[in-house]
């Protein structure tokens, strides 16, 4: 972020005069002048280490050659990078490296894109003065996904530094010293880490490579497509590299996209889903109770005919539609248009309903925006960051990197309210970087937030202008929090009044404050209310509306945000505009040249209820899997079985698709074009990397074909044409630029909230009751709280078809605190039975110090059995189904 005027320095590099900001390193200044200084250990993301000595340059008036990577520019400096002396130095460094580097380029996966190859080509004479035998490291198995060839290592330590400085994982150790330094993990143990692939990407030679694509290609054979990852809301730009329509590898170029070239395990190693052998390749039609292969014509005609017939018989509101927020904006837009026009109903919803909608609704209510008012850059340059209910490393790893950068490189203060405890483990833990950590049970985030607000109010951190702007609002909230007692807050959260006061002081005094909320808030009872209350916190401290400040709900799926903006949820039209808002309706109706259905739409849970009651006759389900996602007690299967007709568009024959009458094979993100909108509201292009698998077609094309057959043609030539129509409704989609401009809060909306809007539920939001803080004696009566959580290595159920990710995590296990395990007489890897009044499951246990006492975690990706134990409650306002928490007892088998 640009801060006030920056001092600049003027210098000369190889005859180019240039002016750069003070503090710039010579190597970077040279790059700007178009001069490439050769280097191995330097990387713009890392602190200079100057260990490889490759970047030596001549600086006038300095007696010796200087390392360009660690020398900052100075006024009047004259740098020469191409003199004989410099050349000789570079040659010597290369000669030393090549004294040991094996000449196995023909079998090296890096061959053709290797810095050492390139520099050798540029500098080295064909002879070497070294006659010694090259060093040979004994080959050791390194890890299932990452391979090391230490004989090739140039010992630049970029991998080790990346693992520490950027990822905060610290899983790599340079063991030994001198020439014999070898990158290892811990003794002879195999690598256990986040598997972000950063070491593979940052290695300048072929010392660290991916095992997933080992020996499968030569880099110049690969076809590249820049697209966007689908495994979380961060929206990382990835380059998918393919050979003969096979996915070979994924990488992300340094500086690319919102992720700046960084990826996580899902992005780097999870790409094989698209070519999984179980992909549906042909349409399926149910005949005599069995799904059998059919042609597209048969299948589409059957769907269209049945839809027309049922619509005539039961009316459009006997239909409902459900779509996954993994689809492109174009798919989502056409889906809702298809449902609203071709079918004629507002009964449509998307997986944004599982949580994202809570954040969007709270933002719209308080500040009139549907997106963040901050960007990733604002997170990096924040002074204070408050994370509530988010294990950000595992759910949104790249947003997590922004937080790490803010804390580690820019000394931001991190405040965290989450269930995990700080503890060093194989994967990084954001709580370790926190200076004010409140470790509270997942159902008690609310009392912790109220504690912060109480401290803000009592210690005079309230914005003085608020008293004039909204006296009644301030009075109400002040009274409410003063009515809360510190002992009650302490009992619920374990945080002392002093700890809340200190945290509140740090937060309120920071000029740039960002609050990030994750699934712990958005997918847990009261999520909508708590998101609203966190906006109150920003309003109270006066940080609301200030540039660089705001509330940022983290999207779980890649296009959760797009699903809402495309109007693929019951309550919104594209924009999003409220379905009930006449202005929004007429705008959409004008463009569509058709009236919109009147009746308010059903959301996911009422939809299923209505289906169970027999009032819904037909459903279109696109990429969503309610049968596989919701707890058994939600009776999704019974609901879908009660339908007269179910059509699914899917990649795989999921639990839901198995119930369908027609299953249409859809393209995965790797096979289609379009756009995704990431968690910060940034619209990015998705490009196909491979041809469609089998006969699969993009989802939008299927809606379009159906609409034609149903006599309501919604015809588009390609995804771009749909985007054009989206742009005419939503101007934000006009630019697919490199950086988004954040939205500003709408003043009328904020005033409306401050004057009347807050009052509707203020009493509930500021009451401690109903937050589960009542004495429950976690652990004492043998009961533990089970939290179904997301794991770093998976995303929903989709990634469980990725062979790479399955090698890191192939099954679910119950993670619990060692103290709880000791109390229950359990050791790591023991088999246990987990029981509550709804059912039982068996699984293995894993011990982890970061799981607090009284809590056990189970990954949602493998929750087929765990879903038996869960109940569902629905948010009274946003109708988000909450089912992530339950009470269980555990016994050893």
């Amino acid at each position: 972020m640009p801060h006030a005027a920056v001092d600049t320095v003027t210098l000369t590099i190889d005859g180019h005069h240039l002016t750069v900001p003070k503090g710039t390193l010579v190597i970077e200044a040279a790059r700007q002048a178009g001069v490439m200084v050769p280097h191995f250990c330097y990387h713009p993301k890392l602190k200079p280490d100057a260990n490889c000595r490759m970047c030596l340059v001549e600086v006038e008036k300095m007696p010796k050659l200087q390392t360009a990577c660690s020398t900052p520019v100075a006024e009047g400096m004259v740098v020469r990078t191409a003199t004989t002396v410099v050349n000789e130095a570079h040659k010597s460094v290369l000669e030393f490296i090549l004294a040991n580097h094996p000449l196995d380029c023909p079998v090296c996966d890096q061959g053709g894109r290797c810095d050492l190859q390139d520099f050798s080509h540029q500098y080295t004479p064909t002879t070497s003065r070294f006659i010694e035998v090259k060093r040979v490291f004994p080959k050791e198995y390194f890890s299932p996904l990452i391979e090391t060839q230490m004989n090739r290592c140039v010992q630049c330590l970029r991998c080790v530094r990346y693992c520490d400085e950027v990822m905060d994982v610290k899983a790599l150790a340079p063991s030994g010293r001198g020439t014999m330094t070898e990158i290892k993990s811990f003794l002879h143990h195999e690598l256990d880490c986040e598997f972000c692939g950063g070491c593979v990407q940052i290695c300048p030679v072929g010392a660290i490579t991916s095992r997933l694509s080992m020996y499968e290609y030569r880099p110049w054979m690969l076809k590249r497509a820049d697209t966007v990852c689908t495994y979380c809301g961060d929206g990382c730009q990835i380059t998918i590299q393919t050979k003969d329509n096979q996915l070979v590898e994924v990488m992300s170029a340094q500086g690319a996209g919102r992720n700046n070239g960084d990826l996580c395990a899902r992005g780097f190693f999870g790409y094989h889903v698209s070519t999984h052998p179980d992909r549906l390749r042909h349409p399926l039609i149910r005949r005599d109770g069995v799904l059998v292969q059919a042609t597209w014509e048969e299948a589409l005609e059957l769907v269209a005919e049945t839809a027309v017939r049922l619509k005539l018989a039961h009316g459009p509101n006997a239909f409902a539609g459900l779509i996954a927020a993994r689809c492109t904006n174009e798919d989502l837009y056409l889906f809702q248009k298809f449902m609203r026009l071709a079918i004629g109903t507002n009964h449509l919803d998307s997986s944004a309903r599982y949580g994202q909608i809570n954040g969007v609704r709270a933002l719209r209510r308080v500040q009139g925006t549907h997106r963040w008012t901050v960007t990733f850059e604002d997170i990096v340059s924040a002074d204070a960051l408050l994370l509530v209910g988010t294990n950000i490393t595992e759910t949104n790893p790249i947003t997590g990197l922004k937080v790490k950068e803010a804390v580690k490189k820019r000394q931001a203060t991190l405040l965290t309210i989450d269930s995990l405890e700080p503890a060093v483990g194989a994967i990084s833990n954001i709580a370790n970087l926190s200076s004010h950590h409140f470790s509270v049970h997942p159902d008690r985030f609310k009392p912790a937030v109220l504690g912060l607000i109480k401290a803000v109010v009592e210690d005079g951190h309230v914005d003085p202008t608020l008293a004039q702007r909204a006296p009644a609002y301030l009075q109400t909230i002040s009274d409410s929090v003063q009515d809360l007692s510190w002992p009650a807050i302490e009992a619920a959260t374990g945080g002392t009044p002093e700890s809340f006061r200190e945290a509140a002081r740090t937060f309120a005094r920071s000029a740039r404050a960002v609050i990030l909320i994750g699934q712990g808030v958005l997918r847990t009872a009261d999520g909508y209310g708590l998101a609203t209350t966190l906006l109150d916190l920003l309003l109270l401290t006066g940080q609301h509306g200030r540039p660089g400040c705001g509330l940022a709900p983290l999207a779980e799926e890649n296009n959760d945000q797009g699903a809402v903006e495309m109007g693929a949820v019951a309550e919104y039209l594209p924009g999003p505009g409220d379905l009930s808002d006449p202005a929004a309706r007429s705008r959409v109706a004008q463009l569509w040249k058709e009236d919109l259905p009147q009746e308010p739409g059903l959301t996911l849970m009422p939809m299923l209820e209505r289906a169970r009651a027999g009032a819904l006759k037909a459903m279109f389900i696109v990429g969503e899997n309610p049968v596989g996602s919701l707890p058994l007690s939600a009776k999704a299967k019974e609901a879908l079985q009660s339908l007269e007709f179910l059509a699914c568009q899917e990649l795989f024959l999921t639990e839901t698709a198995q119930l369908a009458h027609v299953v249409l094979p859809a393209c995965s993100y790797a096979e289609k074009d379009g756009t995704f909108t990431n968690t910060e509201g940034h619209v990015q292009a998705v490009r196909h990397a491979i041809d469609p698998i089998g006969e699969s077609r993009p989802d939008w094309e299927i809606f379009s074909a159906l609409s034609v057959l149903m006599g309501y043609p919604l015809e588009y030539g390609d995804a771009k044409e749909i985007l054009k129509e989206i742009r005419s409704l939503i101007p934000d989609y006009g630019r697919l630029g490199p950086a988004p401009t954040p939205m500003r809060p709408a003043t009328e909306a904020v005033d409306g909230y401050l004057h009347t809007g807050y009052a509707t539920d203020a009493a509930d939001r500021y009451a401690l009751s109903g937050t589960g803080h009542e004495a429950r004696g976690a652990g004492n009566d043998g009961h533990l709280t089970l939290l179904i959580a997301q794991s770093l290595f998976h995303s929903g159920k989709l990634s469980t078809r990725s062979k790479g990710l399955l090698q890191v995590q192939a099954e679910g296990s119950l993670t619990l605190n060692p103290a709880d395990a000791a109390r229950l007489g359990l050791a790591d890897r023991d088999q246990v039975r987990v029981t509550n009044n709804l059912g039982a499951m068996t699984t293995t246990v894993m011990l982890a110090e970061r799981v607090p006492k009284g809590l056990v975690l189970f990954p949602e990706h493998f929750d087929q059995e765990a879903r038996r134990l869960l109940t569902v409650s629905t948010d009274p306002v946003t109708q988000v189904p909450y089912y992530k928490l339950t009470q269980v007892t555990i016994e050893r088998l």
Partner: protein, 175 residues
């Protein structure tokens, strides 16, 4: 567990440094003192005390030659092989030790008594060839002297021929 046995020492070591991880080397020494080498559980425990990851501790252990990564004998014989000692005969001396003990440098005798290592300069260049056994120096070595030292150690666990680690000024009583 080090933490149980040496709680006071560990607390004292930690209290010396404003940055926690700075206590790494002293804690590793403590671990080595206890077991003769730095074991895997010790590295893990030290990592957890210092809030480091085990690989971070491991990389430090491997950098310094004075930490042993595998168990050693009761007497760790470190013979100086640097230039000064080499000029006055450290090579034959090492050969003599290898023959007497029937081990190669880096190995431990079968009875677990002696581990032989070759090390860089120990700062006793005026009195070479020399070696250090555990924390004691033995200087101006000859083959007979070495035989006597080994016999003493086997018999008594100590030897009167040691000159102690402090070399300068030379004690007056010694000839």
């Amino acid at each position: 567990m080090l933490k149980e046995k040496y709680k006071a020492e560990i607390d004292e070591i930690l209290s010396r440094y404003p940055v926690r991880r700075s206590a790494l080397l002293p804690l590793l020494y403590l671990a080595q003192q206890e077991e003769g080498y730095v074991s895997e559980p010790a590295m893990k425990e030290i990592a957890s005390i210092l809030r480091l990851t085990p690989p971070q501790v491991y990389e430090t252990v491997t950098f310094y030659t004075m930490f042993n990564l595998k168990p050693i004998g009761r007497f760790h014989i470190q013979v100086c092989k640097s230039l000064m000692c080499a000029l006055v005969g450290s090579d034959p001396l090492i050969g003599w030790l290898e023959a007497k003990l029937d081990v190669k440098p880096g190995d431990t005798t079968k009875d677990g008594l002696f581990t032989l290592s070759k090390v860089e300069c120990l700062g006793a260049c005026g009195t070479g060839p020399m070696m250090q056994i555990n924390s004691d120096y033995y200087e101006r070595l000859t083959e007979e002297k070495v035989d006597r030292i080994l016999a003493d150690l086997k018999r008594d666990g100590t030897s009167t021929l040691k000159s102690g680690p402090f070399m300068w000024p030379e004690p007056a009583q010694r000839a």
